[in-house]
Subunit: 502 residues, 2 copies
């Protein structure tokens, strides 16, 4: 009964955290403008309830009793108790007032960010961002680590540190900078047709049909429109995604949809027996999620978006379908031209619209800035200048305004400081996982024929179903036979550039 | 500080209950089908958390300390403490397992009801309804009263009893039966044009424009489509309504919209200082709501739907606007014909589509059945037969199937047994409140000119702003100078029939 009591307590916390996810989803999709302040209070109250439930004396007693019952082995019950104990210990180090203020602030900061971005007014956003960074510094201090950024990135990617990131970034920069140059020196592909008039319902119908073919289950999901696409779940049986469609920019909405569907398939396919357990509950971030880490999550979204969706064989299979939706707009476009256009390499301002080659440069820039903000090397007030300087230095472009510069991302308003590196880690892991899957029976043949079931099943068996019962490193090792390795990712990007410039 | 501590505790409970309202809204508007079971668990967990917070020893101590601070007077703080104490005492009488099971059951029962109604299959619904009624009987037993139905109706209309209802029903039946007969004997108005093809976006645009003119604030609201229209709030600053539009039935969607907008205006205009207090928190039903009672709420919705929306002067003002939306469909219809059509008296199967004259007969039928179910006079298995027998006896019509009979209402699946009488009480009070308002300066002149602000302000000052800080009886007396009285309602209906048959 002790383990059952522990499990019942985690289940209730999961219910509260799933409900917090609904509060967040609603505030970004459905809530009328007037609801902002009350919603911030609701989010703060439920967050504090979840924290109280996790750090209560009753939970500590339940954990001890459960540990006595299950012992110190490596089976799932023992892992569950150990994981919960580890996360609750970290959570308890973060002062309650910091969690309460962060929760309330992130709801309000989101609206302020939306308005500041629309008005190109960094000064309107700076005060809440300053406050958010002060809270983050207190969190970093409470959790500890060699570098203050270790605590930040470690919340999202357990085991990752500032020092390891520097090594990974160095490997990537060494490979990417010459690849970007090579692509820039080659003749540029046509892309004029991407900005024609593409009615949104037809974009959605096409994108969703493919997402369902990939395996995203609409019976346990739904698709909405938001300024910033995201995926969020309220247990594996209700996993929602959003995208951002624009009439005059075809690839934006569809690729974002497949990206979010990748996240969605992960959550929908965590094993049912992990539902409402610690293996679907992140007690450090007080976040209901089944993925092993933010990086492992991103590995899935980037795999379906890039390894699958931007491949030559994908468009050999699906371009005719797309042209059936848009016969006039794509009448003068060949399949090869379309594939080249969705892979066009071009340094630009906006991360979410960046090509595969320049994407990580956007991440490295953000990660460096976050580390400098957290250790106090730079101030929030310096951000526009630092940002624009780094954009020039890294990608050689002048940022025209803060809307297309430092104000473009939602993350900091949400309190997600230290999450950007997980995008690059996800890119790296997506190539590792994809390469390993393609070596196994049926996966490549499936992709060749437009049958995504073998890849889906491979990911389900090796990654998704395990949820948080394996660490990201264990998950990666199970699926690929080794730990984090940039080589397959660099090989994929090199092959892509060779293919594009051949 | 004691009162502040009490207030802070109520505020947190209100946050949890507002969040429960969001879970309910979402499950009826947005949730994918697969989410049902997990949602039921989330609803049960949050309901139990709210109950624990309200009935905790810490809350009892806070209540005692607050009472010492504020004393026994009749000012708002003293009223707040007394109201909270009274409601917590009632809540604590209901066993925790009954509340938990009712919460979980009502989420599941809703989906089962939807499916059973669609399939015309009462037997699929009977088992959950049986279980729900068993829980309701336990609630009635725990709360007590002269008749077991007293506890049921008293949850929704404080102070109302089975005995008082019988007297009110007798007065209404004596007046309504001959009025229905008189309308039936008169020549029937044209209504053929109501079933023409009315595109839903245009219906919505017209209906919403009028609702905003009435005073419903879309900056703190939103409108969605559901099978069963409803209003729900997550504080006064986020009050959502739904309606049910059908292409081939014009009046359905628009009148339901104004009905729900009436509820919505009530919630949006509870005084800001009552937000997150006991005056916007119903601890008996564990429901975040600002209205004084369900009946007082219904008085508002029926006033805007019927006293305003079905009046001759309303269509004198708005028919041209409606015809501008539907020039072809209404080309051969006069303003007088339209007004007669929306007031057509005709005994029919469906409560929510019933005219003003027959509406209360539907309520009396349901109320009698509920009372008999609760005291064990009839069983759930007998319901279709009892329902159909009473429909023949009361309105003289044969119910063609259970979909249009006993399966038509959402209420029992939701656990709302005892709420139907509040619809008739709302009708009665709507006429009292409307008559009193029209005697005050500017209200009638405003209605004559299509300026709804004076009526809105009258309701805001005398009813809405007070929230639950006055009982329904006190609210009614403040606004009308007297208690519950069927005479103004009977006078309104008599005048309507005279006008229609003149």
């Amino acid at each position: 009964m002790s383990y059952a009591d522990f499990q019942a307590r985690i289940a209730r916390i999961n219910d509260v955290l799933c409900t917090l996810n609904l509060l967040a989803w609603d505030s970004r999709t459905m809530m009328p403008p007037g609801g902002v302040d009350a919603r911030a209070e609701q989010v703060a109250t439920l967050t504090m309830l979840a924290r109280e439930m996790a750090t209560s004396d009753a939970m500590a007693a339940a954990l001890n009793a459960a540990q006595d019952e299950v012992g110190d082995g490596d089976d799932l019950p023992a892992r569950a108790v150990a994981l919960a104990r580890r996360e609750i210990r970290t959570l308890a180090r973060i002062p309650a007032d910091v969690i309460a203020e962060k929760a309330a602030l992130s709801s309000r900061a989101h609206s302020i960010w939306v308005a500041a971005r629309a008005a190109n007014d960094f000064s309107a956003y700076a005060p809440v961002l300053e406050r958010m960074m002060a809270l983050q510094r207190r969190i970093a201090g409470a959790i500890g680590g060699d570098h203050p950024y270790d605590a930040m990135v470690g919340q999202f990617e357990p085991g990752m540190t500032h020092a390891r990131l520097q090594a990974i970034y160095a490997e990537l920069k060494a490979a990417l900078v010459p690849l970007i140059q090579r692509a820039a020196d080659a003749p540029q592909p046509r892309h004029d047709f991407m900005a024609r008039d593409f009615p949104i319902p037809a974009q959605k119908a096409f994108g969703l049909k493919v997402a369902e073919k990939m395996g995203y289950d609409m019976n346990r999901g739904r698709l909405d429109d938001t300024a910033h696409p995201f995926e969020i779940s309220f247990t594996r049986d209700d996993v929602r995604i959003t995208s951002r469609f624009r009439e005059s920019w075809l690839p934006g909405g569809t690729f974002a949809l497949w990206h979010e569907a990748g996240h969605g398939m992960y959550e929908q396919n965590v094993a049912p027996e992990h539902a409402r357990t610690i293996f679907a509950t992140d007690l450090v971030n007080l976040y209901a999620v089944g993925g092993a880490s933010f990086g492992m999550h991103e590995a899935q979204s980037r795999m379906w978006e890039n390894r699958v969706g931007r491949s030559r064989r994908f468009w050999a299979l699906h371009f005719d379908d797309l042209r059936a939706q848009f016969p006039d707009q794509l009448a003068d476009v060949s399949q090869d031209e379309f594939w080249r256009a969705v892979n066009r390499v071009r340094p630009d301002y906006i991360r979410v619209e960046a090509d595969e080659l320049t994407y990580d440069m956007h991440i490295i820039l953000r990660s460096e800035i976050e580390a400098d903000l957290i250790d106090g090397t730079i101030d929030v007030a310096d951000l526009p200048q630092v940002w624009n300087g780094k954009m020039r230095e890294t990608l050689g472009i002048d940022v025209p305004d803060d809307t297309r510069g430092v104000l473009q991302d939602v993350h900091w308003s949400h309190g997600y400081v230290g999450s950007f590196p997980t995008y690059t880690l996800g890119n790296v892991m997506s190539s590792q996982l994809f390469a390993a899957a393609c070596r196994r029976s049926g996966v490549s043949e499936g992709l060749e024929a437009g049958d995504y079931r073998p890849l889906f099943e491979d990911m389900r068996a090796n990654v998704w179903s395990h949820g948080r019962s394996s660490t990201p490193e264990e998950t990666l090792t199970r699926a690929t036979g080794r730990g984090l390795d940039t080589a397959p990712y660099i090989a994929d990007l090199t092959a892509k550039v060779e293919d594009l410039t051949a």
